[in-house]
């Protein structure tokens, strides 16, 4: 499995890039069992777990965080949340506080949490960037970059069970995530898809994408700080 992933990551690289080797971490796999947990997940139980685990402390009561550094998870894809929790628990995604929290959860707890936050109303995008960046609307086929919307949805609302919503994300964690993919500090993306994409992007291009999708509260706060 690990070899397969490493190879596939390699195939997604540009001609000048070298093959990336995936981190030595167990990879969550989508299959009939894991998808089934998401399908039968309970919103009510998810809310109960969120309260017990005090998720609101960082992510806000309904998944809209009150500070700039914690990501919004309201309206996020349920399956995506469940997978991230599984990856934190397995340390396939590194963040100490999240790993500590995820260790208390079983797979169905994770799916239930995902179901709860997926049904919450997300923050809207900033709306300050009037025009879609070219990478969002058209991509750049010369660099084998598909438009962001072709996977993440036309409005950044996410797609299917694997692709997360981007619209309304807090700016700082969004930026940190893109940089982590670019620097290969984060490697829990199946087939290295996001690592490949982020590696192709300049810092300015990443900033442009983040500015387009980010939530207004974050901008307002940042503007205030500035």
């Amino acid at each position: 499995m690990k070899t397969s992933i490493a190879l596939t990551i390699g195939l997604l690289l540009s001609a000048s890039a070298s093959v990336i080797v995936a981190k030595d971490a167990p990879m969550f796999v989508w299959n009939r069992t894991t998808l089934g947990m998401v399908e039968v997940a309970s919103v009510g139980r998810g809310q109960q777990i969120a309260e017990e685990q005090k998720c609101a402390k960082c992510h806000g009561k309904i998944g809209v965080s009150e500070d700039e550094d914690s990501p919004n998870i309201a309206g996020q894809k349920a399956a995506y949340i469940a997978k991230q929790l599984a990856d934190y628990k397995a340390e396939a995604r590194e963040e100490k506080s999240m790993t500590k929290a995820a260790r208390k959860l079983n797979p169905q707890d994770m799916a239930d949490l995902g179901a709860f936050y997926a049904t919450q109303k997300p923050e809207k995008a900033a709306g300050k960037v009037k025009k879609e960046p070219v990478l969002v609307s058209a991509g750049d086929e010369k660099r084998f970059l598909l438009p962001c919307g072709s996977c993440h949805g036309k409005k950044g609302e996410g797609f299917g069970h694997e692709v997360p919503a981007l619209m309304g994300q807090k700016g700082t964690p969004f930026l940190d995530t893109m940089k982590a993919f670019k620097d290969e500090d984060r490697a829990n993306d199946h087939y290295g898809r996001m690592r490949f994409i982020a590696a192709q992007l300049t810092d300015d291009e990443i900033a442009g994408i983040v500015a387009y999708y980010r939530a207004p509260a974050a901008i307002a706060k940042k503007d205030k700080d500035d």
Partner: protein, 503 residues
């Protein structure tokens, strides 16, 4: 005619063909362009473009774009013979010789090996490439049978072909946003989708895996025909059922004559695309047969950079397929007290839904190696062991076809072929025998018989001519081996009993 004689004649044929090439008997390049018309724009191929549109290479997507959502499929395709269909240096060299002999060969070969290059007329002959020249094309055209080539095929031109059968690139291309495949409910945020039953059937593959001569219509590569008139076809087993699944499953298909989708607990369950629904059957896209060995031969089975990804897997899978395709049985006989013994080797095509070998049967080599030793360690018989020049010995039993030109002279150049004077390939679920004779010393008490079946894509001599002497050592794959002990006393008793019964 005995097997040995037949094989010796084939070896002579090979030498004749090679001598012709090496001696410069092939004419200088002809430059005139073969003109087509609206009904057949790229003759002698049967490619047409939907709506008679003008197309350019950019109308087809680079497989590396497709691979970002269809990653599993890309990984299977990359390194496959489909991905190497244009770049394969053995093909390039043979194609170059064809170009020099007759300009129609550019489209005749190119239409399947680079549909994009042919339909856009962007293939260029480069005399300085390789030993005999080679071809260049825009990058997406050099990617051979890429994702967008197959998934934008909109129909077949079977009714336009000279033989009214699939073959010689008898398909309609329709590059654009609509991608066609077998799923009825596929949805993509990037492209439009259309269900195509054509893509799910052998008929689709037959558009290229069935090749007849462009002027005399002689069937040179008959893979589709071989399948069509086989028990596989009678049971509804399609090419895709074996060549788009892992070898272990392909073996089950062949053993049970059951399509993968009809098997319980489908081992092919998975996702056809990023974030797509869970599917009962997701096909592999390596389309692996036996010829991935070319990758090994060229030393390109290592994963060192992105272009190489998948290549090692394709080679391993090809070897596994070759090792599960056939079986052997041996029979020993002796008449009375005569020291002359007869060894019979039966070779069965167990799991190939076409002949063994198939495709360019005048080039492929499947042969038997047989060695007999006695209880005192004496080697009594040996046949079919590669010689010091990495060649199959002239007296070996080889399963292939013997091709000749219009003058009856042996040839391995497809454009010269007018007929096969002998076909010794093994049909699906069929078998062939090879018989050998040797003397056994009177003091021998038992024998050890070792029989092996070997495969390779082409002879060393052909590789030397096409790629340059020493450029590559053609690898062989041991498909199957069998070792049996023979008690000579028991054999004599059994033979005597059989003789008495006969009388």
């Amino acid at each position: 005619m005995s097997s040995s004689t037949r094989t010796a004649r084939r070896a002579a044929a090979l030498l004749t063909a090679l001598a012709l090439v090496a001696g410069g008997a092939v004419a200088a390049p002809k430059t005139e362009k073969v003109k087509g018309d609206a009904a057949r724009p790229f003759p002698p191929s049967y490619i047409t473009i939907e709506g008679h549109k003008q197309v350019k290479p950019e109308d087809w997507k680079d497989p590396r774009l497709c691979g970002q959502c269809h990653t599993v499929q890309y990984e299977g395709w990359n390194g496959s013979m489909h991905s190497n269909a244009f770049r394969d240096p053995v093909f390039q060299a043979l194609w170059a010789l064809g170009e020099k002999a007759d300009p129609v060969m550019r489209n005749h070969c190119g239409a399947c090996h680079t549909a994009i290059g042919t339909a856009t007329e962007t293939v260029e002959f480069v005399p300085s490439m390789g030993v005999h020249g080679g071809f260049k094309a825009p990058e997406v055209a050099e990617q051979g049978v890429g994702c967008d080539v197959c998934h934008t095929i909109a129909g077949t031109n079977i009714n336009k072909t000279a033989v009214l059968e699939h073959g010689n690139s008898s398909y309609v291309v329709a590059p654009g946003k609509t991608k066609r495949a077998g799923l009825a409910d596929a949805k993509s945020p990037y492209h439009d989708t259309m269900k195509s039953d054509h893509h799910t059937k052998s008929d689709f593959c037959g558009n290229c895996h069935n090749i007849f001569h462009p002027t005399n219509n002689f069937p040179i590569e008959r893979t589709y025909d071989e399948w069509k008139y086989s028990i596989y076809s009678q049971n509804g087993i399609q090419c895709q059922d074996c060549h788009m699944v892992p070898v272990e499953l392909a073996n089950k298909v062949a053993d049970t004559m059951t399509r993968p989708e009809n098997m319980p607990d489908s081992p092919l369950e998975g996702f056809a695309a990023l974030s797509g629904p869970l599917r009962k059957v997701v096909h592999s896209h390596g389309f692996i047969g036996g010829n991935a060995v070319i990758v090994k031969a060229l030393g390109k089975d290592k994963v060192e950079k992105y272009e190489d990804v998948g290549r090692d897997k394709n080679y391993d899978e090809a070897v596994k397929r070759l090792k599960s395709a056939a079986s052997l049985k041996v029979f020993m006989a002796r008449k009375g007290d005569d020291p002359l013994h007869e060894l019979t080797v039966k070779v069965m095509n167990e799991r190939a839904g076409h002949h063994l070998p198939t495709s360019l049967t005048e080039v492929r080599q499947i042969w038997i190696e047989a060695v007999v030793t006695d209880d005192q360690g004496r080697e009594l018989f040996r046949n079919g062991t590669l010689d010091a020049n990495n060649e199959v010995p002239k007296d070996a039993v080889v399963f292939n076809a013997h091709a000749v030109d219009k003058n009856g002279q042996a040839t391995q150049l497809p454009w010269e072929i007018t007929r096969f004077t002998d076909v010794n390939t093994i049909p699906p679920k069929g078998y062939k025998y090879a018989r050998y004779y040797f003397n056994v010393p009177a003091d021998a008490k038992s024998l050890k018989v070792v029989a092996k079946l070997h495969y390779r894509s082409f002879a060393q001599q052909l590789a030397d001519i096409l790629l340059g002497k020493g450029a590559v050592t053609v690898p062989s794959v041991e498909m199957v081996a069998l070792e049996e002990a023979v008690d000579l006393q028991e054999l004599q008793t059994a033979s005597a009993g059989a003789a008495a019964e006969k009388h």
